[in-house]
């Protein structure tokens, strides 16, 4: 049982009159990739927000790791900042030394093909580049858990494949990956467990 990084016990979340999560129990283990699927409003993003501590809920959440790398489905970016400054400042906020950030940014920006845009203002960048920025910022602190909320948004086919390779590599490196998506078929080769959400409950996809 030591390999459980996140445990959600009897989690209930109600928005207005809508019970999105109903006495939900889930465990996320080391070296595993999980895919949360379900219809719109089934509670995929809500589960992520419970894990991240972004919303209030009833029930118990236990997390045994220091850093979480979160890739939200969308983000409001600062208007006048360049891609480099945005990532550099986030690195400092994550308590990473300036030297390490510079080094990491040089490697990651080339790997994720944003190097030509790194000194551009973010508002001048495409949706795909902005999505890559979100992925890179999540990698900066080398977290134990990666959480992707609809991570394929705006990524072209090459970058989607790159993301799948990255997920596989992180899994092999002992990280836990949690993904939400509508596209089960795209992820089926790399995920270990598919969790289907319906009416506030979680089901194993194959049951």
């Amino acid at each position: 049982m030591d390999d459980v990084l996140v445990r959600l016990s009897n989690i209930t979340k109600i928005y207005g009159k809508n019970k999105v999560l109903n006495q939900l129990n889930l465990e996320f283990r080391k070296k595993k990739a999980y895919l949360l699927v379900g219809e719109n409003g089934s509670g995929k993003t809500t589960i992520l927000k419970v894990i991240l501590g972004l919303i209030s809920y009833e029930g118990e959440r236990t997390i045994t790791c220091n850093q979480i790398g979160y890739v939200p489905d969308s983000l409001h970016f600062p208007y006048y900042l360049t891609c480099y400054d945005f990532l550099y400042n986030l690195g400092l906020i994550k308590n990473i030394s300036p030297e390490k950030i510079k080094k990491a940014l040089e490697i990651l920006s080339k790997e994720w093909e944003i190097y030509p845009h790194i000194n551009k203002k973010i508002h001048e960048c495409s949706k795909g580049t902005k999505q890559k920025l979100l992925i890179i910022q999540a990698m900066l602190a080398n977290p134990d858990i990666y959480i992707f909320d609809e991570a394929l948004n705006g990524l072209d086919q090459n970058m989607q494949l790159k993301l799948f390779d990255f997920i596989q590599a992180m899994k092999d490196a002992g990280k836990t990956i949690i993904i939400t998506s509508h596209y089960f078929s795209l992820y089926k080769k790399i995920v270990d467990q598919v969790i289907y959400l319906k009416e506030g409950k979680a089901y194993d996809q194959f049951n």
Binding site: K49, I68, P72, H76, P78, Y79, D85, I93, N95
Partner: protein, 230 residues
């Protein structure tokens, strides 16, 4: 903490805020010239000084409250504040995030008010090279700064509860009503306690009242932010 402030600042300086503040400052610049021009008709310099100060204070108060209410509301609506998800998940506590954000907006407003005061002094000086600025004048602007923050925090309570930018109209409307009734001596006592305003005649009058109300609102906002869903 400095990095967090830098981060908030980068979000605060958006196209919309820069446009709003530039418009207000340009209008203030022109209105200062017009007010100064009107002052030439006065026979006594003290009268002209008083007119220049009162007219400018009215303008700075109104536009200042408008800007502060807008900035607090705009910065904290969920769509603009969703970068907190990246910060809070980077092991930064909600209270640290909230305090640094309020601090950033307050420092930004201090800069804005400083430019307003600078315009007031320079344009005034152009018309009256020997103008004497009494110490009370500075206290008045410190008081105005606190008043601006108070109404900003008032707007923030509404924005956090309803998450609708149009809610920012309410504190501005309340401030306008408070200004209308500020000369009433006996009536509207409770109203005057919770909705303070300032004037040139009682420059140090309600300094502690505004400070006290500001601290209360700061804590109320902090508590709401701790429980807020993102």
């Amino acid at each position: 903490m400095i990095n967090l402030i830098k981060c908030h600042y980068s979000y605060l300086v958006s196209k919309t805020t820069v446009l709003m503040i530039s418009i207000v400052l340009i209008i203030h610049l022109f209105s200062c010239f017009l007010i100064g021009y009107d002052c030439i008709d006065f026979s006594w310099q003290s009268q002209a000084n008083q007119y220049y100060l009162e007219s400018n204070l009215f303008f700075i108060k109104t536009t200042g409250i408008f800007i502060v209410v807008f900035l607090f509301s705009y910065s904290f609506i969920t769509k603009q504040d969703n970068y907190c998800t990246l910060i809070i998940t980077s092991n930064i506590s909600r209270s640290k995030y909230f305090i640094t954000k309020i601090l950033t907006i307050s420092l930004f407003l201090l800069g804005f008010l400083w430019i307003e005061v600078f315009i007031f002094i320079v344009i005034g000086g152009l018309y009256y090279p020997h103008v004497i600025l009494e110490p009370d004048f500075l206290f008045l602007f410190i008081q105005l700064y606190l008043l601006m923050i108070y109404y900003g925090l008032f707007a923030l309570v509404l924005i956090q509860c309803f998450d609708n930018i149009y809610m920012s109209i309410i504190p501005f409307a309340f401030y306008t009503i408070a200004s209308i009734f500020q000369d009433e001596k006996d009536n509207f006592f409770i109203f005057k306690i919770i909705l303070p305003t300032i004037s040139t005649t009682e420059s140090r009058g309600n300094y502690y009242q505004i400070l006290f109300l500001m601290i209360i609102l700061f804590f109320i906002n902090g508590i709401i932010y701790q429980k807020r869903d993102f």
